[in-house]
């Protein structure tokens, strides 16, 4: 989903129900991991429906959200529970390995690297969700 969106007076959000549904499924996946005994398959099921929903309705997920989901097996990556973080050198990078399937992702540590979504010049509008 984009950044948390809401309704300022005048700004319209198309496809608001899609964003709310994606939000709900993401929270349900977090709940599935907190059960005892831990149920990894259920959380994988929820994130998979989340991805197909976004695909069918042509809605892009925010890259910060995508980085917490394993690309191969669709597990929620929580440091300490389902994945490991390690620092390696030359050039310095952090390596995130998923414990379910073993695939890893590398992030190079560079001060100049910034996501396009993070730069304040590229944010046009921030909308907050209404609470009844």
């Amino acid at each position: 989903m984009g950044k948390k969106k809401g309704n300022q007076s005048g700004s319209h959000l198309q496809k608001k129900d899609v964003y709310q549904r994606l939000n709900y499924l993401y929270q349900a996946a977090h709940f599935a991991i907190s059960m005892q005994p831990v149920n990894k398959e259920l959380s994988k099921y929820y994130t998979r429906t989340m991805k197909t929903l976004a695909q069918k309705n042509v809605v892009r997920l925010h890259p910060h959200v995508k980085r917490t989901i394993c690309k191969h097996c669709d597990l929620l990556l929580i440091p300490g529970v389902t994945c490991t973080y390690r620092n390696k050198g030359k050039p310095k990078q952090t390596v995130v390995t998923c414990q379910g399937c073993g695939t890893f992702r590398r992030y190079l540590l560079n001060i100049d690297n910034k996501l396009w979504h993070d730069k304040p010049e590229n944010i046009a509008n921030v909308v907050m969700c209404n609470k009844s």
Binding site: D17, R21, Y24, F31, E41, L42, K44, G102
Partner: protein, 197 residues
Amino acid sequence: MEEPKGLSFVEQFVKEKVPDLSEKKLEKQLVNLYQKPILLLCEKSGKVKKKKQKKSLRQCKADLKRALTQNSNYAEYEPLRKMWSEYIREVLYVGGKKQVDMKMAQEVFLKADLHGAVISVVLSNCKHLEKTKGTIITESKNMFQIVTLKNTIRNIPKKNSVFEIIFENLRVTIFGDQFCIKPSQRLTKKFKNYIPV
């Protein structure tokens, strides 16, 4: 011809230049020296990396089945039910109003997520399926998966039965015949206003 004593020049050359040869392999190579050519570059017994294949849908469902038999406690899914009621309250009461728009409520329930709702079967062709009640865990094209009050997991088909959801003041009836669609496709589909024969 006299047999050469010890290792001849060629054989010693082979032993020095070809790396990583065990003794058995050396003997084999030396026997074949007079008949076949020898590769001086040692071939690495390379481990061919196989690409990890994603699990097929069938295996994913089988894994789910196995994993869910451990978590069949009805009381454990309490926070899921709370989250669902909060989610639907946000969707129904649009714009901070206090009354529910009845026209909008129909469309809302068609497009909403049903994971975590308390559902009960009212009418169906199979008599033993009636009066089952529970929370929905997973939803697929033709089936619901439900945790019942007696701590068991049941699969209920959607066809030939009528379901009911109760939320605060509202009571929603769902005809299962018209509802046989994947949950991710239900958002975009438009439902007809009449029931076909």
